[in-house]
């Protein structure tokens, strides 16, 4: 597993992207899967920068792991940990995507995108940390 420990600031998102790209360099996931993963990493990381330590800053830990079932499936598992205020982003109600333009609030889509594009998303508060884990499965050699 590769891990990045970083101060959770907006400016550091570029370092998070670089870390992610390096971690998935030898992973043969289809480009669509890699794009979805990148999007989810941004959304979750930004959530940490906004809510975990605000108005202070603190450390975010991101772990990337590739799991091979030995057959034709592979799984990308990414975990995010912070020691900020306990906060379960999954408990928030999903936005109503059928609302009209006038009624539609601005924002609230980040975690919803994570929930809809990943195969599994789980939150736990463990050892004083918020830990959010996302999983995405893909078929090997499916380009």
């Amino acid at each position: 597993m590769r891990e990045l420990k970083i101060e959770a600031t907006i400016e550091n998102l570029s370092k998070v992207f670089t870390f992610l790209q390096e971690s998935l360099e030898h992973c043969d996931a289809p480009p669509k899967v890699k794009r979805q993963i990148k999007l989810c990493v941004e959304e979750i990381y930004m959530n940490i920068t906004h809510y975990a330590y605000n108005p202070e800053t603190g450390i975010a830990k991101i772990g990337v792991e590739l799991k091979d079932d030995g057959k034709d499936q592979e799984r990308i598992v990414i975990s995010f940990a912070d020691k900020g205020k306990p906060y379960d982003p999954l408990a928030k109600q999903d936005p109503d995507i059928n609302l009209s333009l006038d009624d539609r609030p601005i924002g609230g889509l980040g975690i919803y995108l994570v929930k809809t594009t990943m195969d599994n998303v789980a939150y736990e508060h463990k050892d004083g940390q918020n830990v959010l884990t996302i999983e995405k499965d893909f078929e090997k050699n499916a380009k």
Binding site: R35, E42, M46, N98, D102, R104, L109
Partner: protein, 98 residues
């Protein structure tokens, strides 16, 4: 992200190229707000847009709401990747995609 614009007074065309993420949306929003006064038609060309996160969606929705009050907004050349995001979030019904 590259931001190319043509403003002839009442029509503002904005070409978004590359990636629109949480780091560059404040700049994008600021540039748009500077230009938007008096604009009757806002055109986004997304041909070169490779990536958009919820931060970018927020800007598009804000502009759509603004333009509803002062004119119209259309979005051109949405590629498959970005269209996927518009579909999942229900933006296909909120934006005028041509």
């Amino acid at each position: 992200m590259n931001f190319e614009k043509t403003n002839n007074g009442t029509t503002l065309t904005v070409e978004l190229v590359g990636e629109v993420d949480s780091m560059n949306t404040p700049e994008l929003e600021e540039k748009l707000l500077k230009e938007i006064d008096g604009v009757k038609e806002l055109i986004f060309d997304l041909k070169g847009l490779e990536y958009i996160s919820s931060a970018g969606l927020r800007v598009l929705l804000t502009m759509q709401k603004t333009m509803k009050a002062q004119g119209s907004m259309i979005i051109r050349n949405t590629n498959e990747e970005v269209m996927e995001i518009f579909k999942v979030t229900g933006f296909v019904r909120l934006l005028n995609l041509v």
